[in-house]
Amino acid sequence: MSPLSTLTPLTVKKSSPARNRLRGGARYAPTLATVGLFIAMFAVGAGMYPSFLSGQVFLNLFIDNTFLIVLAVGMTFVILTGGIDLSVGAVVALSMMVSATLLQQGWNPGAVIVLVLLIGGGLGLLMGLVIQYFDIQPFIVTLAGMFLARGLCYVISLDSIPVTEGFFTGMAQAQIPLPGDLFVSPGVLLALGIVTVAFFVLHHTRFGRTVYAIGGNEHSAMLMGLPVKATKILVYALSGLCSAIAGILFSFYSLSGYSLAAQGMELDAIAAVVIGGTLLTGGTGYVLGSVVGVLVLGIVQTFIAYDGTLSSWWTKIVIGGLLLVFILLQRLFARKAG
């Protein structure tokens, strides 16, 4: 068998790596396509409505969607593991309700925020534990979590409660000036900060890589000795925490607590994540993609607001249509790249 020893290293060496790199690049295709299409949409908007082409319109996409960005971040973690969290919208509402009620009773805003974060994180943790230890599908558990959180809102109060506390109103009205007569809200910085942290966690920590591994193949991840259980539980806790933060951001944004607020927001968050290129089956996707997904949903809304001639039903049809055009183009580009 002597010929072998001199021979093996020659065989595949040359061709394989280059092609693999090409293959690897395809991973980013859906997300890159999303970014490209977003830019294209912005350009189209600018062509159609003159006042569209302003930096502030772009920044408003962030200002008006801080909470959704944060929600999408949490949701990205969950979906990457192959799970889903339907409770986020209701937890946002609950966080708003709790903070509005407590602030009305004269609580210190710092304490309120801490408490809200604890409630959100705690609820997420609880759902994670149930999902993991009793092996119940995330869909059901988080749906029950949604009922529970929304139900607690009703129990707290059926009426909407205004927030008049100084810190919250200050945050609501603060504008951080940027060059060129532009501004953003403090919430935007917070949201972007969270995105950065999430990006770091996902790509530069073991926890983050375990999240991806679980999505790739949970059984394999378990056999590889990864802390699958703990990670899955944590992911839901994280999502709960993000929902609580989103709730506080929404409080800053709308200065009230209302039991029906953020209805259906879970679907927006999921849609943003999926539009951003994350696979619902888990394992592939990027948190930055999810942010762009939020912006895409936002820009669709902006289109509607700018148009101003659409009746209610045409609004829905146009939203659906834009979504369709978007995903079709995304598929097309992703396919070409892959």
Partner: protein, 510 residues
């Protein structure tokens, strides 16, 4: 008991595990010592993988005790056993296809700097490990899913030796490796053995077992047959211990089935004839004909492109150059469906991802292709299904012989048999077998080789791919040699030796 004075690293006593309907392990004792390579032997379904999973905490044991380094232990997750110094490569490749090679090698153990993964360090470390196994040609940054199952198996091994483990468990690590990779692996294993690592090794290749192991434990039907020193146990008696039959019955088993050459004289049209077949970025310019009743073997080294050729023939990947003629008429094979309609079958090498429908029963899996051909509206009558299933369970000795067992609960070798049967029931005219004997025990392997022989004698064309060159030579009439994703030579198999083929591969010319 010459090792009595030394404490075993792992000692399992009186282990029992039952699954609904099967007693997978029944009062098994097992010991593993430092610095030995211990082979765990047994037929398909004997309980080898289950014993390993019991040790590493994948399955909870019903009764018995496990001691690791003198301490009683019961791991409840593989993570715990890994933390305790037991590194395992499970039978099926268990890696994450969505991550890169380097991540898979180091997942959960990435070097870190101030809490953040040191990606440079990851790359360096992966390169080192791969180099140790002489796998430098694998790009650490490539996605795992772009690699063939054999390469993935190597990466899994790389991952396991990366850990500084006291115990290394390898469950059929060599099932799709070719001779050279096996050699590299054994070099590393010996190296580890010299460093006093305890190694548990499972394989159905007796030569390999005899080459590397010091001791062996034989299981049969979930029960312990005995523990032996490798050098004290002859092959014949090992086999008889494994299958529980006496020597005479075995004699016949060991005989290589004789090929009766098919005639493909000038007047006969080949069943399939490929001209210049290729696909961008994959194999190119393949000219290959297979005549009715002929077995063509594909020989080549790991990653040479054998699987890719098979996939082109079957339409699993679409060819973008060249042409295919079937029975002399030009045809396009656009998808597996069209291939099957043209009476071509393909048994994939990747049984977990491309073969099994895990949550379905043996019966459903077995008749799947046949059913798909008939279309959903015409269900194969239950009676016919029963007959077919019974026939093949019997013919291939599938265990447990329960058509209603979920296929995911079968042992690896038995799963392979079901997948093979899936194609046999449809009586294709061309059957492409990619590593059909992967993970199959010797008894069944001979059976399958005989079966191939018989099918060809009945007029079927067969394209046979195996990493085991001897096996390719034993069953084929003609051997096509693949190198660097191109067909470099065709050799008529009269009295060619393994060495001859190797020379061709090495020289690249006829």
């Amino acid at each position: 008991m010459r090792m009595n004075e030394i404490v075993p690293v792992v000692e399992m006593t009186d282990i029992a595990i039952g699954f609904p309907g099967v007693k997978a392990l029944d009062g098994v004792d097992f010991r593993l010592f430092q610095g030995e390579v211990h082979a765990l032997m047994g037929e398909n379904g004997a309980g080898k993988s289950t014993l390993i999973k019991a040790l590493t905490g994948v399955y909870a044991i019903d009764s018995g005790t496990i001691t690791v380094l003198g301490e009683p232990k019961r791991f409840s997750t593989p993570g715990e056993s890994q933390a305790a110094g037991i590194s395992t490569v499970y039978q099926e490749v268990n890696l994450c296809p969505n991550l890169t090679v380097e991540e898979n090698v180091l997942l959960g153990r990435e070097p870190r700097r101030r809490g953040s993964i040191d990606w440079k360090g990851v790359r360096t470390r992966t390169r080192e490990v791969l180099a140790e196994l002489q796998l430098d040609h694998i790009d650490p940054g490539s996605l795992l899913s772009t690699h063939s199952i054999a390469v993935q198996q190597l990466i899994a091994i790389a991952r396991s030796v990366e850990i500084n483990a006291k115990v290394l468990i390898l469950d059929e690590p060599t099932s799709s490796l070719d001779a050279d990779e096996v050699r590299q692996l054994f070099r590393v294993i010996r190296d580890l053995r010299n460093r006093r690592v305890a190694i548990l090794f499972v394989s159905h290749f007796l030569e390999q077992v005899y080459e590397i192991s010091d001791r062996m434990t034989v299981l049969r039907n979930g029960k312990l047959v005995g523990e032996y020193l490798t050098r004290d146990l002859s092959r014949m008696s090992l086999i008889s211990k494994m299958i529980g039959k006496d020597m005479e019955a075995l004699a016949e088993l060991d005989q290589a089935p004789a090929r009766t050459r098919a005639s493909n004289g000038a007047g006969v049209t080949p069943f399939i004839e490929a001209k210049g077949l290729g696909r961008k970025g994959s194999v190119s310019n393949v000219d290959l004909s297979i005549y009715p009743g002929e077995v063509v073997g594909l020989a080549g080294l790991l990653g040479a492109g054998r699987t890719e050729i098979a996939r082109l023939f079957f339409g699993a990947d679409k060819a973008d150059e060249g042409s295919i003629k079937i029975k002399g008429a030009g045809q396009r094979i656009r998808s597996p469906r069209t291939a099957i309609d043209k009476h071509i079958g393909f048994c994939s090498e990747d049984r977990k991802e491309e073969g099994l429908i895990g949550e379905l029963t043996v019966r459903d899996n077995l008749v799947l292709v046949m059913q798909a051909s008939k279309g959903w509206a015409r269900r194969i009558p239950r009676r016919v299904q029963d007959e077919l299933v019974a026939e093949y369970i019997e013919a291939l000795d599938i265990r447990p012989a329960n058509p209603d067992a979920l296929i995911k609960n079968l042992s690896g070798g038995n799963q392979q048999k079901v997948l093979l049967a899936r194609w046999l029931v449809t009586h294709p005219e061309l059957l492409i077998l990619d590593e059909p004997t992967r993970g199959i025990d010797i008894g069944a392997k001979t059976q399958i080789q005989k079966l191939v022989n018989k099918l060809a004698a009945d007029g079927m064309s067969i394209l046979f791919i195996s990493s085991e060159l001897e096996e390719v030579l034993r069953v084929s009439d003609r051997v096509a040699v693949i190198k660097d994703r191109a067909l470099v030579a065709e050799i008529n198999n009269d009295d060619v030796s393994v060495e001859d083929v190797m020379t061709v591969i090495a020289g690249g010319a006829q």
